[in-house]
């Protein structure tokens, strides 16, 4: 008995120290120059402190010396995977301020382009999610299909990533004559390719073991932290602006807001997978019904907004993107503030990842679908 006591005392005296590691600014799973200061005890995460500022480009300040049509060009460079939606947000904000009604043709094309870029963004997210979990083949499956969308973008507006297609007053150019044919061909093809994604990753027993029941975010916490987008919808927070504050042609289509009330890593994964199906539904409803008409309204050479404050938000692939313009009636804005979805989503990481393992931290971070220039404008 005494011997047992001795053993117990010695095991009590064995103490493990917590230690800090820097994940980033250069690290394969932060997908950019994000630095996470992680406090670990063995493999278990005790505290995560995100540090941003490594890629700060001062876009908000730069806009103060630019005219309104020029602002859109910078928003491409923030969340480069939702470039079109960011352009659209600025365009809608300026149009609302000037009380311009754009033709239906513009609304339809903007909606289709929005959904195409949502698809492209979710595809890349899926690639990277697989890679973060160690399944390297996913990357090439996703990029293969994303290539088709980028080809459509290139044909439409000349750019593949920073599309710069929506401008205040309408679109930069009209769509290419092949646009409808190509989009329909892509949808038909991708409907057969998306089940492959499920076969490769979603149904894999290792993947489900690693994601189900890991990294919970409750609905209350999601609302409290200002989480939006698929990350919040996986926690049951109905926040899809396309449904609740429809803009462009979203009021003309039927689609489901994908919701889950589980809130774990797997739910966040599934919500995005289902959103890809919904995006394809939306595009299919619109693509054959693009009305004839002008692709832009005639704008004045120098766009001047009336004095006041204007806010417009859109649903990007990552969540709610907001543009807040304070105008003093001149051709440049007085102040512009962008509300980026990634910023609010990122700062829940300490709340979610605490108590899980390093591998879970990587998986959780992956389901936020972070784009660092979006966080660090």
């Amino acid at each position: 008995m005494d011997e047992l006591k001795e053993v117990m005392i010695t095991t009590d005296e064995i103490r493990t120290d917590e230690y800090l590691i820097n994940m980033g600014p250069q690290h394969p799973s932060t997908h950019g120059v994000l630095r996470l200061l992680v406090q670990l005890e063995g493999e278990i995460v005790h505290n995560v402190q995100p540090h941003i500022g490594y890629i700060h480009s001062g876009i908000e300040k730069m806009t103060e010396s630019l005219s309104y049509p020029q602002i859109g060009h910078l928003t491409d460079r923030m969340d480069y995977l939702s470039a079109h939606q960011n352009n659209e947000a600025v365009a809608l904000c300026v149009e609302n301020a000037l009380q311009i009604e754009v033709p239906d043709r513009v609304k339809y094309i903007r909606t289709i382009m929005s959904e195409l870029s949502r698809l492209a963004s979710h595809q890349l997210w899926w690639c990277v999610m697989g890679m973060d979990m160690g399944a390297l083949t996913t990357f090439f499956y996703g990029l293969r299909d994303r290539e088709d969308i980028l080809d459509i973008f290139e044909e439409t507006c000349g750019a593949r990533l920073t599309v710069n297609y929506s401008i205040p007053g309408g679109l930069m150019f009209d769509i290419h004559p092949n646009f409808q044919r190509d989009v329909k061909a892509f949808i038909t093809k991708f409907r057969t390719k998306l089940p492959e994604y499920d076969r490769l990753l979603s149904g894999n027993v290792i993947f489900t073991e690693r994601t189900k029941g890991v990294g919970f975010l409750s609905k209350e916490d999601a609302i409290a932290y200002g989480v939006t987008g698929p990350t919040a919808r996986a926690s049951g927070f109905a926040c899809d602006l396309r449904k609740h504050r429809p803009y462009s042609a979203y009021d003309k289509v039927n689609f489901n807001e994908v919701l889950s009330d589980v809130g774990d890593t797997y739910a966040r994964y599934q919500v995005r997978m289902q959103e890809m199906w919904e995006s394809m539904n939306i595009i299919e409803q619109l693509i054959d019904n693009i009305p004839e008409g002008d692709y832009a309204v005639k704008m004045k050479g120098v766009v001047k907004l009336p004095e006041g404050e204007f806010y417009q938000r859109v649903e990007t692939a990552r969540g709610e993107f907001g543009v807040f313009i304070v105008s003093d009636g001149k051709k440049n804005p007085y102040r512009v503030k962008f509300r980026s979805p990634g910023f609010s989503n990122l700062f829940t990481i300490n709340h979610i990842a605490k108590g899980w393992k390093i591998a879970d931290l990587v998986a959780i971070m992956s389901t936020f679908d972070l784009v660092i220039p979006d966080i660090d404008r």
């Binding site: 690290h27 390297l136 290792i206 591998a359 990587v362």
Partner: protein, 362 residues
């Protein structure tokens, strides 16, 4: 010099007789050792390069790519170019590293791999050591490799390396049990631990067929545990790129990194070769009981081809795992071993013992 592709003993015997007729026994032995050593070095270097190339092409096929295509025809010279690049790179030693252990670690890893390879019979008459405890030697020596990995992680003085090394230590020590126990299962059937005896015992029928259910279970367990032993995906936690950048070899560069890299591929070969030798008949051709014509045609294919055909098949299977599955988490990897593979293995040994005792095998 008599050369017979079906039986290499004629070749080795003629070399031995030729040398000993000219030289003293000591000099003969020295020259023979040198030839054998050089042959192994050459084989490991060439086969290692080939496996790297094969892995790239296999993974490219899974990922709908071409793989290397530019250097040489079909990119055949790509791995050689990479190897030359690795040779010429600067060897970096971190300032606060434990320099002696840091430099020692890659050698431990590679020496262990060379030691294990020495007992594998490639073809009739083409094996170096043939102990009566061959299987025991393999399991004993291969477990020394983990010391190299642990030392590499510890001496690098890098937290990522340390986490990777600790993961690797926990993983390899655990999975050694499964490798050992599944080999023991087959030893019960083979009734010998001598590797040449095990191969000889499969002349009529490979052990995976002879031992039917318990042998198939042991084979599956061996492949899973063997993949874990080699630190390859889905068990590549030790280097887990997305979590630990490169795990235990984060700080290594140039030829020292190449040693770890080469050792990984030699270990891949070793696991495949052990699976071939113990379960799939080694260099023995495929025989079906009474089909005399079929058996004679199979006998025409030399043992060396049979061996490499089977080894490459198993290697392809393990590459398939790596390029399809996501990585496991560290607690799951230990759960899999201690809660599933180990009990299955222990039960399987009893099953095999019963099968052998009551003569239920073919």
């Amino acid at each position: 010099m008599a050369f017979n592709i079906y039986d290499f003993t004629t070749l080795t015997k003629s070399i031995h007789e030729g040398l000993s007729s000219q030289l003293s026994p000591t000099a003969t032995l020295a020259i023979e050792w040198t030839i054998v050593g050089l042959a192994y070095l050459l084989f490991v270097a060439l086969f290692g390069l080939f496996l790297v190339y094969a892995e790239r092409k296999v993974c490219a096929a899974f990922q709908q790519r071409m793989g290397p295509m530019r250097v040489g025809p079909w990119g055949l010279l790509q791995t050689i170019a990479d190897f030359i690049k690795l040779l010429m790179k600067e060897l970096i030693t971190p300032r606060d590293a434990d320099k002696f252990l840091y430099n020692l670690a890659p050698f431990i890893v590679i020496i262990v791999s060379f030691l294990v390879i020495s007992v594998i019979p490639f073809a009739p008459g083409l094996s170096t050591f043939d102990f009566d405890i061959g299987i025991f030697f393999v399991t004993a020596v291969s477990s020394v490799g983990v010391i190299g990995i642990l030392l590499a992680g510890w001496s690098s003085n890098n937290k990522y390396s340390l986490i990777g090394a600790m993961r690797s230590g926990a993983q390899i020590v655990s999975y050694e049990l499964s490798v050992g126990l599944s080999l023991i299962t087959m030893i019960i059937l083979a009734e010998t631990m001598q590797i040449s005896g095990i191969v000889e015992g499969q002349r009529e029928m490979w052990f995976i067929f002879k031992g039917h259910i318990p042998a198939v279970i042991a084979f599956l367990v061996f492949i899973i545990a063997g993949t874990a032993e080699t630190n390859r995906g889905p068990f590549d936690l030790a280097e887990a790129e997305s979590e630990l950048t490169a795990g235990f070899h984060t700080e290594y560069s140039g030829i020292k990194f190449a040693f770890f890299f080469l050792a990984e591929y030699i270990n891949l070969f070793i696991v495949a070769a052990m699976a071939t030798t113990v379960f799939l008949g080694g260099w023995m051709p495929l025989h079906f009981g009474d089909f005399e014509g079929f058996n004679q045609i199979m006998d025409l294919i030399p043992g060396l081809f049979w061996f490499f055909f089977k080894v490459l098949g198993v290697i392809f299977l393990m590459m398939w795992f790596k390029w399809t599955f996501p990585r496991l988490r560290v607690d799951q990897i230990l759960n899999l071993e201690w809660k599933y593979l180990l009990p299955i293995n222990l039960f399987n040994i009893l099953l095999m013992a019963a099968v052998v005792l009551f003569g239920l095998h073919f």
